[in-house]
Subunit: 476 residues, 2 copies
């Protein structure tokens, strides 16, 4: 056997200089996620192929050389799915960032085809340029990439109306573990000509194949919005109001965000541009937005009528009378994550339950964490219209942050146990990555785990695609 060349050299020969990131400072951003929670500098190379064919060539080379491959988009994920972990010798990071072409836009078919490395913002803009909406939207949209959005089945602010990333994908192009390319870039609304491969790759976090391009579903551009903030006595009233608003508004609700008094108060205290939205204080708030592509959907009037007729539990409300006021309402919601940091260390839970079970869940989960950590503050907010709440825990006032954070696993597991009692999800929006395979092993039905391992073995028999992510090791 000939002496092996260094891994970067092999890929430089394959991809040219532009295709390999120099070790050192240049590669640092690829080797750690942004908060520094998941990082490893022992990877063999960071490669940046410039086309689908080059991705395929990298995969073939990796198969030959027995290298594992970590696919990476914008590296904005919160569970370390795109970041190296530990023991990554014999592993390369494959960045999709150079595959950043919008290949086609078809306004009449309400679809476009984008390469994996296009930022979410770029996809939104390509849609807007033809008077269409690509509805996926969330805080990291300027940096995250559509390939990563699909690999993690990203959620965000408009799921209620338009679905997660999965529901927005019509077709995919995927490079498989052995370097074969599956061209599933179909722009069809109906296709029952075989198994649903598309949805298997979506949400698999790069463990079954590498998404290199996608054909996405577009919607008519939004022409009208109506935004309101509602003060509520309890969460049950929020659930009932949501159901009522869905019906009365002609299902034009695009967002329905719940905020507890605690996170709202934290945002107001922290951010000078955040103010009390209503004259009196309320235990819970709902931020509701309707939107429509019609020119005169009459949304504010519909909202006004539904709220005026609503029953017990609605304390007060305000409908934004102009775009600035709507921005004020949204700012309250959007400042919460940063404001929470100002209140001390926090432990975050990305969970979902059936919407109707949200009141019972919040009560049971709050009791569970308070029993384990006296003084812990519940900072609950998020997408109640999706049954997806960020059930975040802020440290007791005065406690040493490290003492609180040492309870991460214990408190998180307690919350997840309550979630499972409601047949909920312990990984609703942000995926599993390298953060939660242990919870998959602990909480998921063994039959489901075994199915996951069968699929992984079928599509990646040598376990070279993003190993250690998503799928827990099998029972020995």
């Amino acid at each position: 056997m000939a002496a092996r060349q260094p891994v970067p050299t092999v890929f430089r020969q394959l991809l040219g200089d532009a295709g390999v990131v120099e070790p050192g400072d240049a590669s640092a951003a690829y080797l750690a996620e942004r908060r520094g929670l998941f990082a490893d500098r022992s990877v063999a190379a960071v490669v940046r192929p410039g086309s689908t064919d080059e991705v395929a060539a990298v995969l073939r080379q990796s198969a030959t050389d027995g290298l594992a491959v970590i696919p990476q988009g914008g590296n904005t994920g919160l569970c370390g799915g795109a970041a190296p972990g530990t023991n990554t010798e014999g592993t390369i990071v494959l960045s999709l960032e150079r595959l950043n072409t919008i290949r086609a836009v078809d306004a009449e078919n309400f679809s476009l085809t984008a390469e994996a490395g296009c930022t979410l913002s770029a996809v939104q803009q390509a849609a807007a340029a033809v008077d269409r909406l690509f509805p996926l939207s969330y805080a990291a949209e300027a940096d995250c990439q559509i390939g990563g959005n699909l690999a993690t089945n990203a959620g965000g602010m408009n799921v209620l109306r338009y679905g997660n990333a999965r529901e927005l994908a019509l077709g995919l192009e995927v490079v498989l573990a052995d370097g074969q390319v599956w061209d599933g870039l179909r722009a069809l609304r109906k296709d029952n000509s075989g198994y649903d491969l598309r949805d298997l790759f979506i949400g698999a976090e790069g463990t079954l194949g590498i998404i290199t391009a996608a054909t996405l579903r577009l919607y008519p551009a939004v022409r009208e919005r109506a935004t309101c903030i509602v003060g509520l006595d309890d969460v049950a009233s929020a659930v009932a109001l949501f159901a009522r608003l869905r019906a009365e508004s002609g299902d034009t609700i695009t967002s329905c965000e719940l905020m507890g008094r605690m996170p709202l108060e934290t945002a107001i205290a922290y951010a000078p541009d955040c103010h009390e939205p209503l004259p009196a204080q309320h235990p819970w708030y709902l931020l509701v937005e309707l939107s429509s592509s019609a020119r005169d959907g009459d949304l504010a009037r519909r909202l006004e009528r539904a709220l005026a007729e609503s029953r017990d539990g609605v304390g007060d409300y305000r409908i934004a009378s102009n775009a600035d006021q709507a921005t004020d309402f949204w700012r309250l919601r959007n400042r919460i994550p940063e404001a929470q940091k100002s209140a001390g260390a926090s432990i975050k839970n990305d969970i979902s339950v059936p919407i109707a079970d949200m009141p019972a869940f919040l009560q049971a989960a709050s009791e569970a964490v308070i029993a384990r950590c006296e003084g812990v503050r519940i900072c609950a907010f998020g997408h109640i219209g999706d049954g997806n709440i960020h059930f975040n825990l802020t440290q007791p006032a005065g406690m040493e942050p490290s003492v609180f954070l040492a309870q991460w696993e214990r408190l998180t597991q307690a919350v997840h146990d309550v979630v499972m009692g409601f047949r909920g999800s312990f990984a609703a929006e942000h995926g599993v990555g390298q953060l939660k395979p242990g919870e998959v092993a602990r909480l998921k039905d063994p039959v489901e785990q075994s199915l996951m391992r069968s699929l992984k073995a079928a599509l990646d028999p040598d376990n070279r695609l993003n190993p250690g992510k998503v799928v827990p090791p099998g029972p020995s």
Copy 2:
């Protein structure tokens, strides 16, 4: 080895008398699909388990005895997916009809859980009883079963707005080839805690597992509709009008059905209750329905305005002024399939292409079949809003039906070849079953076929679940 008992006796011991259908007249309906195209009387038994546990017991017994299993719902499919084919010795038919309980209805979560054997009508009614809509709807709804709807990813009249059966499923319960039960009955809008097993079983036509129950997505009940019929010069005008109406109507279009003059004329000539809908004749017609859960969506006015402002190609239109008139419009569309029979033998194509490509597809496909069969009449109608047209061919006037039908494969293949040129689907709505595995082998990317075989081998290694359906044999 002990002498083996007859197969029906084995299952009678397992399931009781109610669990096995007597051979002869009683079992005939299970052994052939309704048109008699796919039939076989050599199956070893027809079993009717009464619960998920009994389905699991049947699968375990079948594994032990090496029996293949054909799962069957309402047996209304058009591609023979649920019917026995040839060479079915050592095979049983497993009817889900006794699993017909609505297990739970949750109006606030907009969801319900139904067992596989519930008819689609029963599911619709359970939703309506709590002021909700289950939007899946098509001609066979009184007889087809929700398990079969999901196994075939059924489409129908409302796909445009609400999606196919796949988009309406939140969770599944599935019995696997070895008799293990996967309990994936989650009622969640967001769950990224593992691979998407749900969508793998949906549309797999019972070849990967047997769906025994499903948690389904509900919508607010419809309170208002507006229906119109539009005469058009050409299909390009229909495509442009559809895009315009989507935007102007606030995306409340629920149906958008295209009809050529030929099928419309056939329906009017055949059915005494069908009449010319517009004063003049037009080459093409569009039947459009808007619907909304709001009480005053003002849909007719929106429709009127969008049509009045529309540009070239819209010849004339009429908006239904009451429900009876809307029914008259729909009758024109719904009578076409039976009317077509009165015009002689027909060859049906269930295809889809991107919506914007429909004009070019219709022209190319028409030329392809006319070149092969002079005088053939194009009977094109269907869901243009989904890019899914029933591109049906009616025999030339005066030709012997059998002479025309002898060209089935030749003409169908010619149409499918045109479809593939537009990256379309040769099995858009009705699935593959035993009718089209040959076309899967002929037309699908070999990489995709190989992925399908890998998944089949991973989940059903002994090929005992609905063998011979969907997946073509591998290259030898």
